[in-house]
């Protein structure tokens, strides 16, 4: 087996593989809604590899699926595309069950994310006449408190997406840091990791401030620090995000994403 190389993959494929390893066999979760190809790929890849008993519920529609042992079903850009959600679907939950079923994990995107992992999907600027109006909460205000843990994905790493404080808290991360969530009576963990085109970030600091966990091999830590709109917690030695192995890429491309939706990201 060849050694992994930076030429053989992009950040989206690398992060899909990395996130798939976060999902443990037997857990139940959802990949999130809009622009969530990486999350859906991660969940399907986990089922194809170490987590064949992973429960996957497509968000906002109650399609419970497991495509293991079945013909490959190409990933689609639209999570709710009929072809996408019908891939390996074994059961269809009613809309009430979609929101009553506990999730071990969830994936969430956003217009802005702040230093404590709070997400804004609503509006940037003044609420009454914003500079940018986003799509709204979808189900993330709920999932951010219901799911035992969640993962944030951002398609842009810049000072306008990673900000000191979000203009509007649509979904709660670690609130104002430290024990915020417990003080609000929330019993779930909140955001565990955030992946971006440049880096992997976590919240493993005493005050839950975002920390640079690893830098993707195409960038330096300094570039990530400069592209972030707040002071990141940066460890003395910043690891490089591990590339997907050739074997992992092969399974991803043959079983999960034969049409290369992630490669085009």
């Amino acid at each position: 087996m060849n050694a992994p190389s930076v030429e053989s993959q992009n950040w989206a494929e690398m992060c899909a593989v990395l996130l798939s390893k976060e999902l443990r066999d037997g857990e139940v979760g959802s990949p999130g809604g809009a622009r969530s190809e990486i999350a859906l790929a991660a969940a399907r890849l986990a089922q194809e590899t170490h987590a064949p008993n992973l429960g996957l519920i497509t968000s906002a529609v109650g399609y419970v699926s497991n495509n293991r042992g079945r013909p490959p079903a190409p990933l689609r850009s639209l999570t709710t595309d009929y072809r996408n959600i019908y891939a390996g679907t074994e059961a269809i939950l009613g809309i009430e069950s979609v929101f009553r079923t506990t999730r071990d994990w969830f994936f969430a995107g956003g217009l802005q994310v702040d230093r404590f992992g709070n997400l804004n999907l609503s509006a940037i600027g003044d609420w009454d006449a914003p500079r940018f109006r986003g799509p709204g909460a979808a189900g993330l205000a709920y999932c951010s408190i219901c799911a035992k843990r969640y993962y944030i994905y951002l398609n842009e790493h810049s000072p306008r997406t990673l900000v000191e404080q979000v203009d509007f808290v649509t979904a709660i991360g670690h609130g104002s840091g430290s024990r915020s969530r417990e003080q609000l009576g929330l019993t779930t963990t909140g955001p565990k990791l955030a992946v971006t085109p440049m880096a992997v970030l976590d919240f493993e600091t005493p005050d839950k401030r975002m920390r640079l966990r690893s830098v993707h091999p195409w960038f330096t830590p300094q570039e990530v620090i400069e592209a972030t709109g707040f002071e990141l917690n940066v460890p003395e030695r910043v690891p490089t995000t591990p590339l997907a192995t050739e074997e992992e890429l092969l399974i991803l491309r043959e079983r999960v994403d034969p049409d290369g939706v992630l490669r085009k990201r």
């Binding site: 639209l78 809309i95 929101f99 914003p130 799509p135 709204g136 909460a137 709660i172």
Partner: protein, 304 residues
């Protein structure tokens, strides 16, 4: 409204214009389906032709061109939609423009909060509680949400005011003439929307791809998702969800949706409305103008 006696049972089949004629300015109209799926687009185009104004528009869980077109045409005064966007095709352009111009204030909701508001409406209780919204700014900007203390545990919770829409607009794969409704794909929150509407004395309008013969529902009652007891009017509109999907029957028309988004983003939603809504005066004329036979074949192929 035109109703025909059929023995002892009454047919609910009406024309599109008869159905949307139930809607008057200022009403609360709830739209079914989600995002690009099962949207009653033929009815929405007819509402725009009817010249309706000042509607409060609800769509749950998600919406795209359905609500965006109503905003572009000046029909919507207020919108309650947990996600209003075009997913991988970008933002909802007319929604974005109207909100950024300060012309339209959306009522911010999480999907679970708005579903709970309809659930309370369907059960005819004034409000219901949830944990969703704790720690967020959503509660502060939406007058239909309020943080309160749970009387039993002392925990902070969010009270959601009940909603009972005046009219529900749904799109399904099939209906019989009595209003027994079936879906090819996911029914989303359509049943709950119908229940909340009906409980408040509102009217439920269903547009369907096809009208099935008597006995079709009786042969498979387990496939009826909404019973005729919930339904007031039924309209037959083949491809009535286009450019959205009839989930499981035909796919959403990404190129059509993309061309609307491009036109509206460039400030020319009016051009789209002229070509696709105002010039075609009926659904049949819309299909002739906006959907080719070869495209129909492709969209059906993409859903199977």
């Amino acid at each position: 409204m035109h109703m025909t006696n059929v023995g002892s049972r009454v047919s609910k089949l009406v024309t599109l214009a008869e159905a949307t004629g139930l809607i008057t300015d200022g009403m609360t109209v709830a739209i079914g389906g989600s995002l690009f799926h099962n949207k009653p687009m033929a009815a929405i185009r007819q509402i725009i032709r009817d010249g309706r104004r000042e509607l409060r528009v609800i769509a749950v869980p998600q919406a795209s061109i359905d609500v965006d077109l109503l905003i572009a045409a000046g029909v919507a005064r207020e919108v309650c939609v947990p996600y209003l966007g075009f997913d991988y095709l970008g933002v909802a352009p007319s929604f974005r423009r109207a909100v950024e111009a300060g012309e339209l204030t959306p009522l911010e909701f999480d999907e679970t909060q708005l579903l709970l508001a309809l659930d309370a409406g369907a059960r005819a209780v004034p409000s219901a509680i949830t944990k969703t919204g704790i720690g967020t700014d959503i509660i502060a900007v939406n007058p239909l949400l309020r943080e309160i203390t749970d009387p039993f545990t002392g925990e902070p919770v969010v009270a959601v005011a009940a909603i009972q829409p005046d009219v529900a607009l749904l799109h399904a794969d099939w209906s019989d003439r009595f209003g027994n409704i079936g879906y090819a794909g996911y029914p989303f929150a359509d049943l709950l929307i119908a229940e909340a509407t009906k409980r408040g004395g509102g009217r439920v309008i269903v547009t369907a791809e096809r009208i099935v013969p008597d006995g079709y529902a009786t042969a498979q009652p387990e496939n009826v998702r909404i019973s005729q007891i919930m339904v007031d009017q039924v309209v037959e509109v083949p491809f009535g969800a286009h450019p959205c999907s009839c989930h499981g029957r035909y796919a959403h028309d990404a190129s059509h949706l993309g061309s609307y988004a491009a036109a509206a983003s460039a400030g020319n939603a009016t051009g789209y409305l002229d070509d696709n809504v105002r010039r075609p005066t009926t659904h049949e004329e819309y299909l002739a103008a906006s959907l080719s036979a070869s495209r129909v074949v492709e969209l059906i192929g993409e859903a199977s």
